[in-house]
């Protein structure tokens, strides 16, 4: 394999606020390989979504990338001018947002929202009547791809006229409309009913197989990630605290935070096991703890945890940011 598809090195994202500089992402390293499915897990406020908004240059001002480098197919894309970023967005890297109801424009039909994406990236479209026909066919084909029945009829619908699962599929169809190499699915199931959640996740898995699109599954739910992703990255308070092959990380978590996350989700295998939420609150993003950021909430904390700590590699392509791991 010739290097990762997406490579993030030392990324730091800050949001100036009245109370001080919020360090939403603080020194994140990660990579995504072609065709793989990477899970990124953490509580809200862990910086997982912000990391990938930064990749696409979608940080809302005054938020900005303070340090680090983002490379896509070996080319540095952090700090690219807006015009060049625009060419990447939707075509090379696409994203779906958490709630399709708010992410889709309420005033435009499904067709309009799909078609404008294709038009933005395909300069070879013919002019005139043929153009409209081709665009409509492609839009229908996309709806069929994401498993929407009666695509011709759905094209004319407005987002609020569709069900939640259907809207999520439309958003995925839009994201895939230009066959991106990387799809970032930000909390793709959070806004959905439990029964629909599984359908959408299966759809994403199926699309990855058929189209060869790499997928980053951003979720607060380790369970969702466990089922579909080969590798997982666990984030806490703007940092990566653990990463590795999903089976290994879940089977034998090396960071206390990962263990906490595992205990906080219901398990189908052991329905009797009590669910235990992690006690305490997410670290203050303006004045984070000096050492391990999880230290104030960690039951195993000891004085050594108050010293700065780097991600420590473990055998089997794993790493964890904990003093328990031999340096």
């Amino acid at each position: 394999m010739s290097g990762p598809l997406l490579e993030i090195r030392g990324l730091a994202v800050v949001f100036p606020t009245r109370g001080g500089l919020v360090r939403a992402v603080d020194g994140v390293d990660l990579e995504v390989f072609s065709g793989e499915c990477l899970g990124v897990v953490g509580e809200s406020g862990s910086g997982k979504s912000v990391t990938f908004l930064a990749v696409l240059g979608l940080l809302r001002p005054p938020g900005r990338i303070e340090a680090g480098e983002i490379r896509f197919e070996g080319r540095t894309i952090s700090g690219l001018p807006e015009a060049e970023l625009r060419e990447l967005r939707g075509r090379a890297i696409a994203i779906t947002l958490q709630d399709a109801l708010t992410a889709l424009n309420p005033a435009l039909t499904v067709e309009q929202q799909i078609v404008e994406t294709i038009e933005a990236h395909d300069p070879d479209l013919p002019r005139g009547r043929a153009r409209r026909r081709i665009l409509r066919e492609r839009a229908q084909e996309l709806l069929r791809l994401v498993g929407i029945p009666e695509p011709a009829r759905r094209l004319a619908a407005y987002p609020h006229e569709l069900s939640g699962g259907m809207r999520q599929r439309v958003m995925i169809a839009i994201a895939l409309s230009c066959r991106p190499k990387l799809l970032i699915a930000d909390e793709p199931t959070t806004a959905l009913d439990v029964t629909i959640q599984a359908q959408v996740l299966d759809l994403l898995a199926e699309l990855r197989e058929r189209l060869g699109t790499a997928i980053v599954l951003v979720s607060h739910d380790l369970g969702v990630v466990a089922e579909h992703c080969g590798r997982v990255v666990v984030m806490y308070a703007g940092q990566v605290v653990e990463r590795g092959p999903t089976a290994a990380v879940i089977g034998e978590p090396r960071h206390p935070y990962t263990r906490g996350l595992l205990r906080s989700i219901p398990s189908i295998a052991e329905p009797e096991r009590p669910i235990r939420p992690i006690p305490g609150q997410m670290a203050d993003p303006i004045r984070p703890p000096p050492g391990c950021r999880f230290e104030p909430r960690c039951s195993l904390a000891r004085p050594a945890c108050r010293l700065p700590i780097a991600l420590r590699p473990i055998d089997g392509g794993r790493a964890a940011r904990c003093v328990e791991v031999a340096a």
Binding site: F15, T17, R18, G19, G20, V22, A24, S44, G45, G47, K48, S49, V50, L53, R60, G63, L97, Q98, D186, E187, Q281, M282, D284, P285, I286, R287
Partner: protein, 307 residues
């Protein structure tokens, strides 16, 4: 996704403000208001105009009615032919423009304050009744409100002034008859929200009479949005009064009003621009100050309305 960044901002907040020493909320509001320099300056201007109106006879350098044709259209002091005795020059009858502007503040302030105050009382009362009693009362008041909203403001006032004839009392009446509608709508909406609150439920459960609930429980809580709207509206009222006076439908001559002074000066635009324009400056400054002041008051007393 976006929520995440917002949440992080929210998390930061507790650490941001050191625990404030206990003090009355009003003192805190006042302190915040005083920190807003634009608001303080504009409130000072409004108060200065009010004082000018109140003490006009002592402030004005001349009698505003005293005509002297020898000084007809005399220019202001900074132009050739002007003199310090009449700093803003004289009008077509040789009356001192500065003195007339000082006295003109009386009309603007009186009508502005009276209309806003009376309309606020009527509007709040009816809005409170409509919102609390609902049913027939609400429907009836709603019909009247809808009807009056169907009239453009100035058209309504002009129609009434045409029918009733000019005069200070008639202007106040014409404007109040339309103005209360806006307060009424705000008061009704606020009442609808307030009547669902726990403290109102509690008072009702304790057997308080409707009148007692409306006056004792709801009124104090809808007062601040009503007052904020009222201060904003005063700016519009001042402009409307000036417009009516400009059309000759306001206070009758020779009583000086800024609007009619501008109208009088129109005939002399070519030779004496100051007669028509200077009273307009007074209107502009007062209205601007009211607008800025009410913005400052709103930000402090009713942050929900913040744009």
């Amino acid at each position: 996704m976006r929520a995440e960044a917002v949440e992080e901002g929210a998390l930061a907040r507790p650490a941001e403000a050191p625990a404030a020493p206990a003090r009355s909320p009003f003192a805190a509001d006042l302190r915040e208001l005083l920190a807003n320099r634009t608001a303080v300056l504009s409130i000072a201007i409004v108060l200065a105009v009010a004082a000018m109106a109140l003490f006009a006879p002592w402030i004005a350098p001349h009698d505003p009615y005293e005509a002297n044709l020898l000084r007809r259209l005399q220019p202001p002091v900074w132009l050739e032919g002007g003199e310090w005795a009449h700093p803003l020059g004289c009008d077509q009858l040789g009356r001192d423009i500065l003195s007339r502007i000082v006295f003109g503040a009386r009309v603007s302030m009186t009508i502005g304050l009276l209309v806003v105050a009376i309309a606020a009382v009527i509007g709040t009362t009816l809005g409170l009744l409509a919102g609390y009693l609902r049913g027939f009362v609400d429907v009836l008041i709603g019909r009247i409100v809808d009807t009056l909203l169907g009239f453009p403001y100035l058209i309504f006032a002009i129609g009434l002034m045409a029918a009733m004839g000019p005069g200070l009392a008639n202007i106040v009446l014409a404007l109040v008859l339309k103005e209360w509608v806006l307060t009424c709508r705000v008061a009704r909406a606020e009442t609808l929200a307030a009547r669902e609150m726990d403290y109102v439920e509690a008072a009702r459960a304790l057997g308080a009479s409707p009148a007692r609930i409306m006056l004792g429980e709801i009124l104090p809580n809808i007062l601040s949005p009503v007052l904020v709207v009222a201060t904003f509206r005063m700016a519009t009222i001042v402009i409307l009064e000036a417009s009516l006076s400009f059309l000759g439908l306001g206070v009758q001559p020779p009583v000086p009003s800024w609007g009619s002074m501008v109208a009088d000066g129109r005939a002399f635009l070519l030779d004496a621009w100051w007669v028509a324009t200077l009273p307009g400056v007074a209107i502009f400054v007062l209205v601007l100050a009211i607008n800025l002041a009410s913005q400052g008051l709103r930000d402090v007393f009713d942050p929900r309305l913040k744009a």
